[in-house]
Amino acid sequence: MTDILFSEEHEWVRVDGDVATCGISEYAQVQLGDVVFVDLPTLGAEVNKDDDCAVVESVKAASDVYAPVSGEVIEINEALETDPGLVNSDAQGDGWFFKVKISDASELEGLMDEAAYAKFCKG
């Protein structure tokens, strides 16, 4: 599995072969506050990079989640249905959202590594 990569919309990606696990960053979960619902994409859906493909609802507001890479959704984190708080407690681990089968690996090149993302968040 590769190192974690981040988008400017605060999603993260970890790549294992041609499968990308996606979620929202630790920085994003802190901004959102307590997460109470996650609307995940349907299994088998084709998502395009930068499409809104999920919604995360916190006690404050609903926020769109954008696909950091294009591909077919092959797995969703069903644990979030009963325990959306996983997004707060472990955003970049157990709080993952969905996995996609990457259709264009070159899209990963536009993402940031951890150091670049930390700098990006500081603005």
């Binding site: 506050g33 307590d34 109470v36 619902f37 006690v59 404050k60 609903a62």
Partner: protein, 345 residues
């Protein structure tokens, strides 16, 4: 921090909205609600005059008792909701921050001859929750005996406070009005009590939503009548019979014949959140709109309020909620979502 009616308001403190909400339900929470407008009305027959623009029985209000009411428009809509307290030699009003300038203009227009003072230099704190009375009794033993919707004065941390047993959470609690110069000292004194944690705007909203209480500009507006909003209980018998307030025609008509729509509680199935603006449908036809919605931390599920056509306003009625273009099942339920725990004496 977020901007609200010209004030910087904290959405949450480090505890976070969910924990703040639960802390207020289980112990005591302190809210800074100094953005609310505090107004003093003086003059002979102030109660008679005020009754021209509110449907409450103000004349029947005993000294140091208070009532929830609303300014009504000519066409029977709600211009603002407010608290009116009888202080004996004057009336004391608490109005919404976002409406206070319009409210003052309305009062100046209709309450000629009364002295209307907007108390710019007053702060307002709210101490809410089952342990609020424990804290207040430590300061003033008689506080425990105060019935819901009554007022008294005592010192907290050396500052004179107007203390009322009231609030906006559905819990027992107190609201504390005082001059600005003592606000920080009193707030810090209360926060130093072991039961008390600071509560932000986020939990204030989820607490009042669970308690089924209206938020002006969302669940109430100038097109909505008190009867549609389920607030007929705020209109005393004399006022229903004799009228004499703005909007009486519509309000009287809706009291006699049903209003065309009603405020209801809504419970979305599952965990999807139905927020303000979500359409409420039956068999694909829109029957109403959500006016407040979110997650109820004590209800442990999504909750909402909204208006639906009266024929659908029955508990148990299945509806669909159009969330992000998708019809999600839900049900009309009884308000409040969380039982009120006021101290009635």
């Amino acid at each position: 921090m977020v901007g609200f009616a010209g004030y910087d308001m904290p959405v949450q403190y480090p505890m976070g909205v969910l924990e703040e909400h639960k802390h207020c339900r289980n112990a005591a929470g302190l809210f800074d609600v100094s953005h609310m407008g505090q107004v003093r009305l003086e003059g002979s027959n102030a109660a008679v005059a005020l009754e021209k623009i509110v449907p409450a029985d103000v004349q029947g209000l005993e000294k140091d008792r208070m009532r929830y009411t609303m300014f009504t428009s000519d066409s029977g809509g709600v211009l603002d909701d407010l608290i009116v307290l009888n202080r004996g030699d004057h009336l004391f009003l608490v109005v919404n921050a976002a409406c206070k300038h319009e409210d003052l203009a309305l009062m100046k227009e209709h309450l000629r001859g009364l002295k209307i003072s907007y108390l710019e230099n007053r702060a307002l704190l709210a101490l809410q929750g089952p342990k609020a009375v424990t804290v207040m009794s430590r300061i003033a033993p008689n506080a425990a005996e105060m019935p819901f919707m009554s007022a008294t004065e005592f010192e907290i941390a050396g500052f004179n406070c107007l203390v009322t047993r009231s609030g906006y959470t559905g819990e027992d609690g107190f609201e504390i009005g005082l001059e600005n110069n003592g606000a920080e000292a009193v707030a810090r004194f209360l926060l130093d009590q072991e039961e008390v944690a600071p509560i932000g705007l986020g939990a204030r909203d989820s607490l009042r939503l669970e308690a089924g209480l209206c938020l002006y500009g969302h669940d109430l507006d100038q097109n909505t009548s008190p009867i549609e909003a389920g607030l007929a209980w705020t209109i005393g018998n004399r006022r229903r019979k004799d009228g004499g307030f703005q909007g009486y025609d519509r309000i009287n008509r809706e009291l006699t014949h049903k209003p065309s729509r009603r405020r209801v509680g809504i419970r979305p199935d599952g965990r999807v959140i139905a927020r303000e603006g979500v359409e409420i449908q039956v068999d694909g036809h829109t029957i109403g709109t959500v006016t407040s919605g979110g997650f109820g931390p004590s209800s442990e599920c999504p909750i909402a309020m909204g208006y639906v056509a009266s024929e659908f306003a029955t508990v148990g009625r299945k509806v669909e909620l159009l969330v992000r273009g998708q019809a999600r099942p839900g049900e009309i339920v009884k308000l409040p979502f969380h039982p009120h725990r006021y101290f009635k004496g």
